[in-house]
Amino acid sequence: MPVKVHLDRIGVAFTTPTGVFRAVEPLDLSIETGRFVSLVGPSGCGKSTLFNVIAGLLPPTEGRVLIDGEDATGTIGRVGYMLQKDLLLPWRTVLDNVILGMEVQGKPIKAARERALPLLQKYGLAGFEHLYPNSLSGGMRQRAALLRTLLFDTDVILLDEPFGALDAQTKLQMQEWLMQLWSDFRKTVVFVTHDVEEAIFLSDEIHVMGTRPGRILETIEIAIPRPRPRSVAMTPEFIAIKERCFKLLTQPAMQEAA
């Protein structure tokens, strides 16, 4: 598979009154086309910082972002980016929220609506198209936000803890739903989460990250065949990966204690 996104020695440092804070240690990361890749790590490991860099919203202190081999450092509108909050505009209907990306790109509103409507109906928002976001549940709002990101029509989408605020039940449903979307749309997905189990269940590969400074500790391939039933979480393979992840994630804390 060709490389879709390549981070070439990307490092981010912030100058604070107390000195220089290294948010992300210079790192390399290659993401192949069509893969589902997760970044797992504790708070403050620079996951969101990396996303902002890839989306062009934060200039890196060093290094380059390559998309399709082309230098895309500091350019916006190249990737779909879903932030932690759904950020639906309360004065727009669900349909008009979902077409925001196309609208900003200059597509005629009517054509954009025509394109979005069947997708809303297919992906679980039938009957909600003309409602305003404040009458939607958390899961539904998240669906709308994700569809907005998908309909922006970029090959790469970045999802920053999209299910972090949902209850356990809804979260499981949303994971299945996301898997369906991913297999239908064939996008390259980069997914940030705190939840190790979620990452293993969804991903082709996981990058486990550590803090202070933010860095990639280890990359783990998830070779579990798809489609993956829920019961996959009980298999020895899954449990072994999970244990490995937990070991990596608790490691820095142990070092600090020692």
């Binding site: 902002n52 989306a55 062009g56 919203l57 916006i76 509108g77 190249r78 990737v79 779909g80 980016y81 932030l83 909050k85 950020l87 505009l89 309360p90 004065w91 925001l100 990306g101 609208e103 900003v104 790109q105 305003y132 404040n134 922006f152």
Partner: protein, 295 residues
């Protein structure tokens, strides 16, 4: 009975709790008495009863005034009386300049209101474009806000003349700053993540302004409409007090100077009616706009 007669020094029996504190601690028999209190309940009167009472009070006040003035309890010269006010009201509308005055005050109020609110809101929104510009301009606005604008009224009259424009200018001065500051508060309340979303979609600054900043700040703009209509009316009246050919403010001043107290009351009455109508219209408009912006 028998127990209460036992000497106190020897009594540590559970029931004898009248005097000794230690006995209370071990006494399970008699719980400490609490005041029994029920939830206060207020019964709502039907709407007709409320309205009837209000009408009754109003009629009572007017009747008392009329009687007090005709019996000489209060001076009819200084206070006038309802019957005289009524006669003057009819004369004011049939033979006087009622409609000219109303139209004049109404026009200066509305022009001042529209101009002050729209220019103020646009000015407030403009601060989104540059933090440096906002930081530079802000102290000047605070200064202007702290000036009692009505104190500037004589100056404004000198600059803008006796006509409509000076009244509009005073109404503008009163409404402009409030709109600016309130809209700017809206700009400051904007979630930076909202802007981030737009920029991640490749939006231009103009698109962010039009599609995010303006609709987001609209509720703030709307929230000052009612305050501003009242302020604009105050500005127009004060302008007329100082120097004017027309207007309800001028009518009040003129009537006062000629000791025509009944006419003062008539003009105040007409002015209040005008204020109520404008206030009700703006409240209605506010409701419509709020629905439109889903806030």
């Amino acid at each position: 009975m028998a127990m209460s007669e036992t000497p106190r020094a020897a009594s540590f029996r559970p029931l004898d709790v009248t005097e000794t504190a230690p006995a209370t601690a071990v006494s399970p028999a008699k719980p400490a008495s609490r005041p029994v209190r029920r939830l206060p309940v207020q019964k709502d009167w039907p709407t007709w009863a409320i309205i009837a009472t209000q009408v009754g009070i109003l009629v009572g006040i007017i009747a008392a005034w009329e009687i007090a003035a005709s019996t000489g309890l209060i001076s009819a010269f200084f206070w006038s009386q309802p019957s005289a006010i009524w006669k003057t009201l009819i004369v004011f509308f049939t033979e006087g300049d009622a409609w000219t005055d109303i139209a004049f005050t109404f026009r200066s109020t509305i022009f001042g209101f529209l101009l002050g609110t729209s220019v103020g809101s646009l000015f407030g929104l403009s601060f989104w474009w540059s933090r440096n510009y906002a930081a530079i301009v802000q102290p000047f606005i605070i200064c202007f806000e702290s000036i009692p604008k009505l104190a500037l009224a004589p100056l404004i009259i000198l600059v803008f003349g006796l006509g409509l424009s000076s009244k509009v200018a005073i109404a503008f001065a009163l409404t402009f700053v409030i709109s600016t500051l309130t809209t700017y508060a809206g700009v400051k309340a904007l979630d930076p993540d909202g802007e981030k979303l737009f920029y991640s979609l490749g939006a231009s600054r103009w698109q962010v302004f039009r599609k995010l900043v303006v609709p987001f700040c609209l509720p703030w703009v709307i929230s000052v409409l009612r305050v501003n209509i009242g302020l604009a009316l105050t500005g127009a009246i004060v302008g007329e007090f100082i120097a004017s050919q027309h207007g309800l403010g001028r009518a009040i001043l003129y009537a006062g100077q000629t000791y025509d107290i009944a006419l003062v009351w008539v003009a105040v009455l007409v002015l209040s009616t005008l204020a109520i109508i404008m206030y009700a219209t703006i409240s209605w408009l506010e409701g419509v706009l709020r629905k439109g912006t889903r806030q």
